[in-house]
């Protein structure tokens, strides 16, 4: 299901990518797109689908922080 939660790429492995969400939680995901460390992404069902521009990611994170 689509929750639109930005995650930051912190490590790129051979067959997976480690990302971290704004709470500091980490996940290891598969990806359909090429990425670099520092990219912001959206995932669904443990697959990275899209890169987000940093300003868009920060806007979403700001709203998440406001609601915590």
């Amino acid at each position: 299901m689509c929750l639109t939660l930005p995650k930051k790429v912190i490590e790129i492995k051979e067959n997976s990518v480690v990302v971290e969400n704004h709470d500091g939680n980490r996940q290891e995901l598969k990806t359909l797109i090429e990425l670099a460390v520092g990219d912001f992404v959206i995932s669904q069902q443990n697959i990275i689908l899209e890169k987000l521009e940093e300003d868009e990611a920060m806007e979403i994170i700001s709203l998440l922080d406001k609601n915590h």
Binding site: C2, L3, L49, N67, H68
Partner: protein, 237 residues
Amino acid sequence: MLTKKEFITSDGLEILHLVMCSCPDSPTNGGREAKLILKKFSEMKTDIDFARFSESMNAWKKKYAEHADSCLLDALYDVYAHIKEVSGLTVDGISIIHFFSGQHHAEKIWAEILNEHGKDWGMIYARKVLFAHMLVVMRIESIEGDRVHGVYEDGENIITMRNVLSFSDDLQPHDVVLVHYGFVLKKASKKESENTLRGNFHSGLFSETRKLIRDNGIDFEDMHYFPRSLKIAKGEI
């Protein structure tokens, strides 16, 4: 012996397409192609033989077979597979409504919420995310520019809903509409309203959710995905 064909009706395609359009991720979760397929079929304004519909979906699934542990058309294919289990030979608008208003959809969303954030999210916000993700009926109270404000009422709960966007510009106060993920999808007929509420009531998880958020209401402008919803509304994604 005649072979019975399975159909998805034009009204079913219309609602499914609108639901997919309201999802902030669907343009990107492989859903861009799924949306185009849905759009094409729904614009035909005719019932579609399921074999033809699923052929298009299956072709797309095969393309991503290497990621077979998770179907990127999950939102669409899961919908259809589930509906087929309960609807028999024909999937129509009411079948689609039952799916997006009911327990199966609520459970999947809640599982994803817990998987992603679990205890880190405030309980009220997590429940608002769930509520927003369900198909509900709203009575419009006012319209300010592109923002629609209204209430959800189910006989037990009254939940204010603010800053709902819309795919329809033909709305008036007092209209009863279907809302999903912060978008007015369409005006609801009496039958559509009743079936949406019925779906909502059949979900214990969703019933509990409505009780928890009724005091706060929901303002979609405060939801974290609202910036993307605005882009959808403007046709930017």
